[in-house]
């Protein structure tokens, strides 16, 4: 029996074997074991290696190494951006703008801000989980401290037009935070050109290890941040804690590899995604939640009439690993806000499946997955009450 086809890249990528091997070498290299804050050559060597990796990571989003704060992942980066800016700037205003389509790291950090006396404008995403720039522009106020929007939606892959939002924020001196956990390393990103002040991303969605991420910051963002955790003063005093050499070096290498292959991979992966989509259409009664244009290369969110998502997941799981809803939004069973906001019925939301492709997906896997999914769809439709299929939308 062949290994299951992994179509859950949006939740996490397998670590690139080249990265894994480099990390193994770092973990076994006596010269890189010291605390990077230590004054002796062991510490200094680790610190130098980290600074080199920092350059690679920063370059992925058009930032300088001095602009990059290393964190434990995009969840921490999002929280540092949202809570860190708002808490330290609370004397300048109490208004924050975000959307209901954000990842829970942003949504729940903003809910915490509400408990702390801030006012949050919750925009309703108009297009597959993304807000339109117009919506942000209309919500901006004199006392808006921060706008937080995602670059690519984790459920649908839909991309937000950041540049007009960045320009509007810059014109008013409002800080713009962007969660780019899904897009960094897959699409070109230049935070300066886009007018982004804080940009969150994570290694494990681009071939690096889990548990390491970054927040790239403009100068004014660095000046405006309050740390989430205090201590030894690492990361410019904005994120204390012993630097995890092997993790950062793994992230750095993954960033380099992503940078090198970005253009080619983006084309290869999006053509595989279209191949998957066209094969799946043969079963009929399938709809696409992901936009056909303005979407991440690897993400395909769809649904099958007459088929419930969780049962479909179980029916295919010996052969295909995917997500119903959003795995990174954790084990909660709430229906997806993003899909509901697209006008899907609860039934259609519950029927939806996220298939996500990445660096090790190939055509043979796509074809195998399509066959298995189509068979399972047929089988489950045979068990559903006949009317369900008609009434689902």
């Amino acid at each position: 029996m062949s290994a299951p086809v992994y179509l859950d890249y949006a939740a996490s990528w397998p670590v690139d074997p080249r990265v894994a091997e480099a990390m193994a070498r770092v973990l076994l290299e006596p010269d890189l074991q010291a605390n990077p804050s230590a004054g002796h050559p062991g510490g200094q060597r680790a610190a130098l290696a980290i600074e080199q990796a920092r350059g690679s990571i920063a370059a992925l989003v058009g930032a300088d190494p001095g602009q990059l704060l290393i964190t434990s992942g995009a969840t921490e980066s999002d929280n540092l951006a949202v809570l860190g800016v708002a808490r330290s700037q609370r004397d300048r205003g109490r208004h924050v703008i975000t959307s209901r389509g954000e990842h829970r790291a942003v949504i729940d950090a903003c809910r915490q801000l509400e408990r702390e006396g801030f006012e949050v404008s919750w925009l309703k995403p108009e297009r597959a989980g993304c807000v339109e720039p117009r919506q942000v522009l209309e919500a901006l106020r004199e006392d808006t401290l921060l706008v937080s929007v995602m670059h690519a939606n984790n459920e649908t892959g839909a991309l937000c037009h950041l540049a007009p939002i960045g320009a509007a924020c810059q014109a008013r001196g409002t800080l713009l935070h962007v969660d780019a956990a899904q897009s960094a390393g897959k699409l070109p990103l230049d935070m300066g050109a886009l007018g982004v002040d804080l940009l969150a991303f994570t290694a494990h969605k681009l071939g690096g290890p889990k548990g390491i991420g970054a927040l790239a910051c403009s100068g004014r963002a660095l000046a405006a941040l309050q740390p989430l955790q205090f201590g030894g003063g690492q990361e410019q005093g904005l994120r204390s804690g012993t630097s995890a050499t092997h993790q950062i070096l793994g992230f750095g290498l993954a960033a380099n590899l992503a940078q090198e292959s970005m253009q080619a991979e983006s084309e290869r992966v999006s053509s595989l995604r279209e191949r998957l989509w066209s094969r799946l259409q043969s079963v009929g009664g399938v709809w696409r939640n992901s936009p056909a244009e303005g979407c991440l290369p690897g993400t395909l969110n769809l649904g099958f009439e007459g088929v419930e998502g969780e049962s479909l997941m179980l029916a295919i799981r010996s052969g295909v690993w995917a997500s119903s809803g959003s795995a990174c939004a954790s084990a909660s069973a709430e229906p997806s806000y993003v899909l509901r906001a697209m006008g899907l019925s609860d039934l259609a939301c519950q029927a939806s499946l996220r298939l996500s492709l990445g660096r090790w997906t190939d055509a043979a896997e796509v074809d195998r997955a399509a066959t298995l999914i189509a068979e399972a769809v047929e089988r489950l439709r045979g068990r559903a009450p006949p009317d369900v299929r008609l009434r689902i939308r």
Partner: protein
């Protein structure tokens, strides 16, 4: 025992081998039907029973829902088979939910099975 994947082995077995999934055609005996859906549309169950000599000699189900619901339908259908037609409803789901280790947040969905059973029983008694 929880198997890998959040489903107990019983759910996995019933989901993989749903001997009672399907529909019934009227042959020699009456076929009764009962259908119900959850208000939030997270579950939809259609039961059918073939009655002969006052008993449900065959019971089949169709459902739209999560694996726990589908497994519960299969279990229900197999347990209803052979019962007197007047005893098709009122069948308690507590034991079934325990046997299938249904998580708390899904227990509500099982009520749809009870509703479908009641509809099935009503259909049997009105034609009886």
């Amino acid at each position: 025992m929880m198997a890998v994947g959040g489903y107990c082995t019983e759910v996995l077995r019933l989901f993989a081998h749903p001997a009672h999934a399907g529909d019934l055609e009227a042959t020699d005996g009456g076929v009764f039907r009962g259908e119900a859906a959850a208000l939030d549309r997270t579950a939809w169950v259609a039961l059918s029973a073939l009655g002969r000599d006052g008993r449900a000699i065959q019971v089949r189900w169709r459902a739209w829902g999560c694996p726990h619901l589908l497994a519960a339908c299969e279990l229900t259908a197999s347990q209803l088979e052979g019962r007197p037609l007047e005893a098709l409803a009122g069948f308690s789901l507590t034991e079934l939910a325990e046997r299938l280790e249904v998580p708390a947040e899904k227990l509500g969905r099982l009520l749809v099975i009870e509703d479908a059973q009641r509809a099935l029983a009503a259909s049997a008694s009105s034609s009886g």
